[in-house]
């Protein structure tokens, strides 16, 4: 698993055709639209509000007291393993499921008594749910016809939507005459045709093959940027959530574990569960030895002292976990001179060569096993580090996060 902080998002958004904003001004903070973090603005009115929403199916609690605010023009991703309740949450917003407890508000209006066909939200279904008996145009026009829109206006909107998803000339085809990628575009066009207040996307890219999925991600971002719409997406694919979303809501067992921008979820996970679910991580159990000025010293249970550049909200003697991403560890065949602290010696137990990166599993002298991943910057003719080699692992005090829960 190779999860990068979502810098690519900024790069691509800046590359978009006809985008007036230069890339530089958009590159202010990785993962955020520059100057746009409505969730951080006090008093900002959210567009969608989940208030202590509970959903039970029989005796099973699928969603357990979820409170969440989503703001106008935000691209929000609900990320979690299958069965964590993320799809149920989305379906409650669409109106297909009714909350057992709590309220869902859109624009401040309680949606409880609004049936799905009257909600100003549209959904792109996971299997696309295109009407097989209708043409591409018929599918896109379906929602517009329900509104009693004039024929000429419908035709114009359909044409506009076909252009938007680059399917001009495909209007008369039936869904079964399209490729998977084209069907995905039709589903997107159909959901966007009514200009919903919120577009819901249920695993929008999961049915596409890898190459197409990566291309489509960037198109989705451009689309959301250009249309100025609010997107709420459900996904189990963390790469997808990282690249697409402004904020990610990480869900576990019906609850929101963390809601934060992608970089924060990756770099400052708030719990062991989130750290472990998003990306690869090494968790080292330890006891707080001392908390000082911007630095905490932790004694690893297995032995050794580790320094962290962070004030930990824990008293000396408390049990904590040090979370360390594999790519933030340096691996050397000699003891590194620069590191006086956070240096651990061990032996290479396993190597996985993936082309762009290599993963190492290192068995430390203190008994712990750490995962390390190194970008292969030069062409590998001969492995510089082999099985059974004695190595030294080191990491900066800023590279890791201390988790108290």
């Amino acid at each position: 698993m190779n999860v990068e902080p979502p810098v690519r998002r900024v790069y691509v958004a800046g590359m978009a055709d006809g985008n007036p904003e230069p890339a530089a001004s958009r590159g202010a903070a990785p993962g955020l639209k520059p100057g746009r973090a409505p969730w951080a603005v006090p008093g900002a009115r959210p567009l969608v509000q989940f208030e202590a929403v509970v959903k039970r199916f029989g005796g099973v609690t699928a969603v357990d007291r979820v409170s969440l605010d989503i703001y106008e023009r935000e691209f929000f991703a609900l990320l979690g393993p299958s069965g964590c309740g993320k799809t149920t949450l989305l379906r409650m917003l669409a109106g297909f499921e009714i909350p057992t407890e709590g309220r869902i508000l859109l624009d401040g209006q309680d949606l409880a008594r609004v049936p799905p066909h009257k909600r100003p939200v549209n959904m792109m279904f996971q299997n696309y749910a295109l009407f097989p008996h209708l043409t591409v145009e018929g599918n896109i026009a379906f929602g517009l016809r329900q509104d009693g829109m004039a024929k000429s206006a419908i035709a114009a909107r359909v044409k506009e939507m076909l252009a938007l998803v680059k399917l001009e000339g495909y209007g008369w085809r039936k869904p079964h005459q399209l490729s998977g990628g084209q069907r995905q575009r039709v589903a997107l066009a159909r959901a966007l045709a009514k200009r919903p207040r919120v577009l819901l996307l249920d695993e929008p890219l999961s049915a596409l093959d890898r190459k197409l999925r990566e291309e489509t991600r960037f198109e989705l971002i451009d689309l959301q940027d250009n249309l100025g719409l609010t997107f709420v997406m459900v996904t189990h694919d963390q790469d997808e959530a990282m690249t697409l979303a402004d904020r990610i809501g990480v869900m576990n067992a019906g609850s929101l574990a963390q809601v934060a921008p992608p970089a924060a979820v990756y770099e400052q996970p708030n719990s062991r569960w989130v750290a472990d679910f998003v990306g690869d991580i090494n968790l080292i159990e330890g006891i707080v030895a001392s908390v000082g000025l911007g630095e905490t010293v932790i004694g690893a249970r297995a032995g050794g002292r580790l320094r962290v550049a962070q004030n930990v909200e824990a008293k000396p003697g408390a049990t904590v976990w040090l979370a360390l991403r594999p790519e933030k560890i340096q691996i050397d065949t000699q003891p590194p001179a620069a590191f006086d602290a956070n240096c651990l010696a061990g032996q290479v137990a396993d190597i996985g060569y993936l082309g762009d990166v290599s993963h190492y599993k290192v068995k430390l002298d203190n008994g712990l096993a750490l995962k390390v991943s190194i970008a292969n910057r030069v062409r590998l003719v001969e492995r510089p580090i082999g099985w059974g080699d004695r190595v030294w692992l080191s990491f900066a005090p800023e590279a890791c996060v201390v988790l108290t829960q």
Partner: protein, 306 residues
């Protein structure tokens, strides 16, 4: 190299697979049809067999020519000129049409209910639709005589409920034929409809609702169009055999006007006029060919969509 070998074996096997139905259809359908067609072009005589000419291949080429010269379209002209046959055909088509319409109206809600029933219950319901077949067809029609007669179950029930004062005449009417036909053919309507409704993806109805379509309109815009192949299949499976039905009109219908199956029976067994009976059968087949071809077109289109 091995590829060509494999594909060679496979194409040989594929040919054999096609050969079996082709042989079946040739021996059991095409050959008998050609015999019937030949007889329909002959004339009735009191002899064994009861028609002339007969083809005697021992006579050589001349015999074949004589035989061909003796064939005529006289029987078909008779069918076109005698109102008995025309009325018979029209009546059969009319009754079959009415019965099919009623079957569709009754069968659709049943099939819809079955498709919407809990998954575990559905096989039981399919079994229940089949259940009447466990009793012989003839016995079930005889049972209807009992129900529909003057002192039968139907009149007794209606009298007891106070819905009628005098017993109504059911038996020996067209109503009785329709009741019998609808009862007998219902499974043929319900099962194809159920098969197409059961395949219907629930997310399509959710998509319709999501796009602003209330449930009743989604039924007309999504459910009905997508169950159309099932409805057409069911309608043809009912309509075609009902047109040629003999047992139901013979046992439940009146002695006045006949359905074409009865006319055919009379020609064969009472009048011993095999050529005219054969002509009746050929015309019936041609008349039914149109819906069959329409059905096959639909099937081909449905297959293309898979």
């Amino acid at each position: 190299m091995s590829d060509t070998g494999a594909s060679g074996r496979r194409s040989w096997g594929a040919r054999l697979v096609i050969l079996i139905p082709a042989l079946w259809l040739t021996v059991l359908f095409l050959v008998p049809f050609l015999i019937v067609l030949k007889i329909s072009l002959s004339q009735s005589v009191i002899a064994q067999p009861p028609y002339t000419p007969t083809l005697d291949l021992t006579g050589g080429w001349q015999a074949v020519r004589d035989f061909a010269a003796a064939l005529s379209f006289e029987n078909y002209k008779l069918l076109g000129s005698d109102w008995l046959y025309i009325v018979s055909y029209l009546r059969s088509l009319g009754i079959a049409f009415a019965a099919t319409a009623i079957l569709l109206a009754i069968g659709y809600p049943i099939a819809y209910g079955m498709a919407r029933a809990p998954r575990g219950l559905q096989p039981v319901l399919v079994m229940a639709v089949f259940l009447p077949f466990l009793t012989a067809f003839l016995i079930r029609i005889y049972a209807w005589i009992n129900i529909l007669q003057r002192e039968g179950l139907l009149n007794e029930t209606l009298l007891a409920l106070g819905l009628i004062r005098e017993p109504l005449i059911w038996l020996s009417t067209d109503t009785a034929i329709l009741i019998g036909a609808v009862y007998s053919y219902l499974p043929f309507m319900v099962l194809p409809l159920y098969a197409s409704l059961e395949k219907l993806d629930d997310s399509l109805l959710e998509a319709a609702a999501d796009l602003g379509c209330p449930a009743w309109r989604a039924f007309w815009l999504v459910t009905v169009p997508l169950s159309l192949p099932g409805a057409v299949a069911g309608a043809l499976l009912c309509f075609i055999p009902i047109v040629g039905e003999f047992v139901i009109p013979d046992l439940l219908g009146g002695s006045g006007a006949q359905m074409i199956g009865q006319t055919l029976w009379v020609e064969f067994f009472s009048n011993k006029d095999w050529p005219v009976a054969s002509a009746v059968a050929v015309v019936l087949l041609v008349a039914l060919l149109a819906p069959i071809v329409a059905y096959q077109r639909l099937q081909a289109r449905a297959l293309g969509e898979r």
